[in-house]
Amino acid sequence: MMIALGLTFLMPLAWVVSTSLKLPGQVFITPIEWIPTEPKWDNYFEVFRRLPFHLFIRNSFFVSIMGTIGMVLSSLTVAYGLSRLRWPGRDFVFTVLLATMMLPAVVTMIPVFIIFKEINWVGTFYPLWVPAWFGAAFYIFLMRQYMLTLPLELDEAAKIDGASNFRILWQVIAPLCGPAVATITIFAFLQHYNAFMEPLIYISKSEMYTLPLGLLWFKGRFGNFWHLVMAASMITILPVIIIFFFAQRQFVQGAQFTGLAGR
């Protein structure tokens, strides 16, 4: 039963892989030929010849990396202020943080677009990655929960040595937050990499498309060539599979952190 269910979940991905290696005529033969007799690797090169996927890859990685750096730095900084320092107003800021985690983003979609248009950011990459530098409630919360598990004696010892909070964060606390940083890195990267609505709203020039937009464009232009569309899909999915393969532990850890969030 486990095996049958596993295969069911795997089927869509298997279909992408097998179709992406077929000749056009083989795509719709039933029963489905899951393993093409002669895998046609050239489909992948053909995708690059038809649309500039190398640009889409570059754009996607640029936005994802910039967003991820911002998310990690802002989470560390804000979480430090919320977990290691005692100050009046801290609980209020934390309450606001919890509230924004549950606010539906749809309400700000249109006004934020107009604001970005006013400052001439529409048509640039800025709206896609700059917001991450102000932190996102979920990641800050995750980091705060992690920081709360570190003993306060660390800060106190450093304070006696005369270290400023800034130094304590970067030299004492941040180096100990490895697991939380790793989890946020993975989640934030994928969030930016998978983002669809933001690029759709803010990016119009095709050479600035990220992979999701590029793939949609490809499907629109060459929708009848399913073997190529599937190869293009595979090019989009592949980085995610590679990341998952190398970072499985962080994903599971992330779930455990969020499990804490539920409690």
Binding site: G6, F9, M11, P12, L13, W15, T19, T30, P31, S74, T77, V78, Y80, G81, L85, R86, W87, G89, R90, V93, V96, L97, M102, L103, P104, V107, T108, M109, I110, P111, V112, F113, I114, I115, F134, G135, A137, I140, E153, E156, K159, N165, N194, F196, M197, L211, P212, K219, T236, I237, V240, F244, Q248, F251, V252, A255, T258, G259, G262, R263
Partner: protein, 313 residues
């Protein structure tokens, strides 16, 4: 804190107190400084825009001509716009049929993975991966899976002597088709459930076993209450997300057939970015916002009847 930081004999009491209050001031300054990115973010990306959208609601604006005040005109217009009701009903259908099914599937998968089975990490990967792949990529694939003529789903149904079903081309089946697809994307919820199940204390289950509770009773009376906060968490997040579904419908059906999959966010998107009715779109967004907040509040209200918080009662 005083006891640990001031070594006896080095500092006298008054000095310590003065130093502490200086430290407190420093902590207040640093507290605000360290949280300032978030505070600025909330003001610039939440509070400001929400206030601004109140202005938008009261005006008619296509982003070319200057905004024109129309008061409650947008809301009167909504009452006469059949697509508003249609998209609300569609969204509610998708959420209230879809989310319970998603929770059941995610939970069942987690329970299965929680048994000591071989190849756990392989199964975990298979179930989790779909939920983290770019929506466009799997949406494109699912259009093919749901294809009435060549799609795999109809082929599977055919083995059992069922179908063929016109899935995305038939108004009655389009929403169920999207819900079926959403079940394939429950990996994130599953992995959260799994983390929760692994945190259920073994002693409690053993104690219940000694008291003579069978596996089913242990599951209902021990496991479920312990992880009820996680069920609650997944439900809240699931409903908020489901009300705002956009990407998959935008790519797979674009609201069709016959507006059967026209969901609220898709309709808001069309008004704002295809028809440039900024005020009307902002008004619709506020309506959806209030609906989601209301359902979230209702869930919190009923939470203390069934969600068990350890040590809180």
């Amino acid at each position: 804190m005083t006891a640990t930081t001031s070594a006896p004999g080095i500092q006298t009491q008054p000095q310590t107190r003065r130093r502490m209050s200086a430290a407190q001031r420093r902590d207040l300054r640093d507290g605000l400084l360290f949280t300032s990115p978030f505070i600025f973010g909330v003001l610039a990306l939440w509070v400001g825009p929400m206030l601004y959208s109140v202005f938008l609601i009261l005006h008619r604006w296509n982003m070319l001509a200057p905004p024109r005040f129309i008061g409650t005109g947008h809301f009167e217009r909504m009452l006469n716009d059949p697509l508003v009701g249609k998209s609300l009903v569609n969204t509610a259908y998708y959420t209230f049929v879809g989310v319970p099914l998603q929770l059941v599937v995610a939970f069942a998968l987690a329970v299965m993975l929680n048994q000591q089975i071989r190849g756990l990490s392989v199964y975990r990967t298979i179930y989790y991966l779909p939920s983290i792949t770019p929506a466009v990529a799997f949406a494109v694939v699912w259009v093919q899976i749901l294809n009435p003529e060549f799609g795999v789903l109809n082929e599977v149904l055919h083995w059992f002597g069922l179908g063929p079903i016109n899935w995305l081309f038939e108004p009655a089946w389009a929403k169920p088709a999207l819900i079926i697809m959403s079940l394939w994307l429950t990996g994130f919820q599953m992995i959260i459930f799994l983390a929760g199940l692994q945190g259920v204390p073994k002693e409690l289950e053993e104690a219940a076993e000694i008291d003579g509770a069978n596996a089913w009773r242990r599951f209902i009376n021990v496991t479920i209450p312990i992880i009820s906060p996680i069920i609650f968490f997944n439900m809240i997040i699931g409903i908020i997300g489901s009300f705002q579904v956009f990407t998959t419908v935008f790519i797979m059906t674009d609201g069709g057939p016959q507006n059967a999959t026209l969901f609220m966010v898709l309709y808001i998107y069309r008004n704002a970015f295809e028809l440039f009715r900024m005020g009307y779109a902002a008004s619709l967004a506020w309506i959806l916002f209030l609906i989601i907040m209301a359902f979230t509040a209702i869930q919190f209200f009923f939470a203390n009847r069934w969600v068990y918080y350890e040590g809180k009662l």
